[in-house]
Subunit: 290 residues, 2 copies
């Protein structure tokens, strides 16, 4: 069973959302509208686990902390939100000494400060492996959140930057690509710009092939990749298509948006299908459950 | 370094809360007031980790799912909130098969349904050990959230029920005590009742001795336990004083509250000090970092 199948199984079992929950399981964030509020709130949570998302001998504590927050902020960006606050649940293995913990918080709080995200609470525990989960809350004007399910046939498909850099960095552990892998910059400002321009959006956390497949499934459309995909210098097409953790935004729009590169067009067709050079592109991006 | 010291270190490093965050790190929940809203929102997150919070050979999947949500709901109860929604981040070890996963969600969603808590999103991953983190959002009328820091000398100290049951259950694995350990009922209705009556409140997750110490530290007062502590049938005084996971509410008030038992009085004195039978009671409750 892959992640999507597991998610569907959970969705079927979960009761209908209660009052105020405008969007539940299945997008980058949930949307909650507090009674009387002038803003909709976005919520997302992301885990970062030792030997799954990072290795202690490879990644600095600072980078682990930074990325732990970056993942959620990227989800907020994909929905056009401004970050407000976050909760950090942190389980520390025995090996994580005071120096490592300080480094982790240094990276985490540096990104928090830059993006105006208040660390408002969380949980602490000891565990066999170090792991954390970060829940982020963002805000958008009522009804303005970008979603995955708004793409329509004829819309252009765009990306906010060059792809494959994080995968290349993981391979080479050098230069700008390694920096992109270790300290990804969530595209928050670009997300704000998209609020009135994109018809649908998703962040590229698991690879273009899988994330575009997800966007098309949610929008009940197909996609054709027909323009040149912008590739990070030195990365392969494979890395650009299937590499995870680029944290660029993938979106659809009726007209070009400055700063984004058009890579294809939304078409009617089998929901979720992505065509590249006349062939179906398999959603080979990162899936924990495959 | 114990949990309290680690928490203080984090608090010192974290920047001041941004707009809307009325209460940050250090209470059962953070408080966020959305612009224009008729409600304050409460946020808490709690981890549940294999071999730390549960054992697969001892706890049913159903109980693990139930407790994973109960812990956050108890924090919402302690602040007088009504639950709105939650996010569930779940990391699954290889041994967790479809049957276990279904059992986990059955327990989780049963408690969610009973308490009107929408499962609105989260994250899924594979990991070496099964673990989850649940972030819960609750709501209270503006300014009505109960906090830890409002206790004043002369206030009575109360508990919402008998203590030590969960610790006894963990020891004997039988009867009502085992049930209390496996399927704790967050005191949400009682929390609502306390909104206009309690001066301070906290939930009893780590044991009376430690949680009362925390309440007194936050309120900058001391406490004297002078009345009989209500003990779960069969439990020892030791279990009632230091046993965790009872998930009853501990609160202070100027007058008796129906359904609660008075156990002592708030006094001026060294902040955080708790006196029992003329001697200082050590905060021996559960601390991951001691």
């Amino acid at each position: 069973m892959n992640e999507l199948a597991l998610l569907r199984r959970i969705q079927r079992k979960a009761p209908k959302p209660g009052p105020g929950v405008l969007l539940g399981i299945g997008d980058d964030c949930a949307i909650y509208r507090p009674e009387g509020a002038h803003e909709d709130l976005l919520f997302t949570s992301d885990m970062t686990i030792e030997d799954v998302h990072f290795r202690r001998e490879m990644h600095s504590a600072d980078s682990v902390g930074w990325k732990a927050l970056a993942r959620g902020l990227s989800d907020i960006a994909a929905m056009g939100g401004e970050p407000r606050f976050c909760l950090l649940s942190l389980a520390l293995a025995k090996w994580a000494d005071q120096r490592w913990i300080d480094g982790f918080y240094r990276g985490f709080l540096r990104l928090a400060r830059r993006t105006g995200t208040t660390l408002a609470g969380g949980d602490l525990a000891r565990a066999e492996r170090t792991a954390c989960d970060v829940a982020v809350c963002g805000a958008v004007p009522p009804g303005k959140a970008l979603r995955r399910d708004g793409a329509q046939p004829g819309d252009g498909i765009y990306v906010s930057g060059r792809l494959g850099g994080a995968a290349l960095g993981l391979e080479t552990r050098r230069g700008a690509a390694w920096n992109k892998h270790c300290l990804p910059k969530p595209r928050l400002e670009f997300g704000l710009l998209l609020r009135d321009r994109a018809t649908a959006a998703i962040d590229l956390s698991d690879g273009l092939s899988l994330d575009l497949h997800r966007l098309c499934l949610a929008s009940r459309v197909a996609a054709v990749l027909e323009e040149t995909i912008p590739i990070f210098p030195g990365a392969s097409l494979e890395q650009a298509l299937h590499g995870g953790e680029d944290y660029e935004l993938l979106f659809t729009a009726r007209a070009d948006v400055e700063g984004a590169v058009r890579i294809g067009t939304i078409r009617p067709g089998r929901h979720g299908r992505v065509i590249l050079q006349g062939k179906q592109l398999a959603p080979l991006g990162y899936d924990h459950f495959r």
